[in-house]
């Protein structure tokens, strides 16, 4: 007996079968490759931290350089600016924490990576916010005086190439160098960023992403500034 391929039953059956098979293949592949992808993400984080302190790293030497400059010299700060004991700063996923609405803002944790480069101590502070299409994040390095920014690297997930995606360009990142993280750093449109250390020129055509960087920087840096002000005295 030939099956009627145009019948509704056959169409439904075929579709269900196809979806089950395809779903099984894709989920097992995704699970199988997860360890490799996690490893890549970890190395990427090390590269980002190294970039913030001005060390050029790639995937082949990131782990070695990270161990040399930062190692285990990390700690976690609470949203109130208190140092927390017994937390793993590197494993703390600030992006996940930022997304998770069940964690109250006061309960968020803020990791600090202490780097030593050429005799100078720098604190690398991660920051997370939102751009136009998706998450944006960055790592900011603060110098010996615990207020002047000495390096910044930003990245994004899905910002528009050529517009919002420009936040990861060195020319944008460098504008943050020299600014004081203890007070607000504003992103401006009028081109006055060059004249004032506390001002940064936004990206033409990338206003929402630029504003996102401004918001995430000011929100996160305020927490770290509170911590620094307690330790400085």
């Amino acid at each position: 007996m030939a099956i009627n391929k145009e019948s509704n039953a056959y169409t439904f059956g075929f579709s269900i079968f196809l979806v089950v098979v395809v779903g099984a293949i894709l989920s097992s592949l995704s699970l199988g490759l997860k360890p490799l992808k996690d490893k890549n993400a970890e190395v990427k984080k090390q590269i980002d931290i190294l970039n913030a302190i001005g060390v050029d790293a790639d995937r082949s030497n990131a782990q070695e350089l990270y161990a040399q400059y930062v190692g285990n010299n990390t700690f976690v700060v609470s949203a109130q600016g208190e140092k927390l004991e017994g937390e793993d700063a590197f494993a703390l996923d600030v992006q996940k924490q930022h997304r998770d609405k069940t964690i109250a803002e006061e309960a968020r944790k803020f990791p600090v990576f202490v780097a030593n480069k050429d005799g100078q101590t720098m604190d690398v502070l991660p920051t997370v916010g939102k751009g136009l299409w998706g998450p944006i994040w960055g790592f900011v390095a603060v110098g010996d005086d615990m207020e002047t920014i000495v390096g910044a690297s930003f990245d994004h997930k899905t910002e528009t190439p050529g517009l919002g995606a420009e936040i990861k360009n060195t020319s944008f990142e460098e504008q943050y160098i020299g600014a004081k993280m203890t007070s607000n750093i504003t992103v401006v449109k009028d081109g006055s960023g060059k004249l004032d250390a506390q001002k940064v020129d936004g990206i033409t055509g990338g206003t929402i992403t630029s504003k996102g960087v401004e918001e995430m920087m000011n929100r996160t840096m305020a927490v770290y500034a509170a911590y620094f002000s307690k330790t400085k005295i």
Binding site: E6, V19, I25, L29, L33, K44, R59
Partner: protein
Amino acid sequence: MSESVEKVKAPSEPLFSKKNKKLITDPLSDNNPITIQVLGICSALAITVQVEQAFFMSASVLFVLIFGNLSISLLRNLIPSRVRIIVQLVVVASLVIIVNEVLQAFVPDVSEKLSVFVGLIITNCIIMGRFEAFAMGNKPWPSVLDAVGNAVGYAWILLVVAIFREVLGSGKFWGMEILPQGFYEMGYMNNNLMILPPMALIVVGIIIWIQRSKNPTLVEEH
């Protein structure tokens, strides 16, 4: 739709018969997906700034098209015609997810650079076009050959455009400096215009122009 299905009846012919060879060679020149059919133009504009990206994009399209054409061709007598486009979409989407996962796991830097464009392979008209126009009506082997022909036809255009854009736009090939420093000292400058998308269109246009002047039968009469 049924008129567009090209039938190749090959009951017991050699693997590389004249007809089968034509399946590979045609899309390389006289029936090129980009320059003649003008399909898949979007990716030709977007990821031809660097040769490396163009290469991985081409390799991904080659993989997706071969396995897609093969699976559709194997399933062609089972697919209910009312949901055939959806089935084709499921096949191409799954293959693209596989490519994306593999790139993320093994070449993360490339995956980062290609970012959203890997996902956009799904919408590459060449792929759905070949599924619907060829694989639905032909046996697996000719379908694979057709996939190779079309993917390579797509790839060489992408690579040629990428080579022009990377060499003239940033003086590099596959990320390595190839122009001697002396050039720059003599006042040579990289042409930043080459990096912008419009130049990809112009380079493709020049390729089309050369192709049509070599083979006047391709020129439509108006």
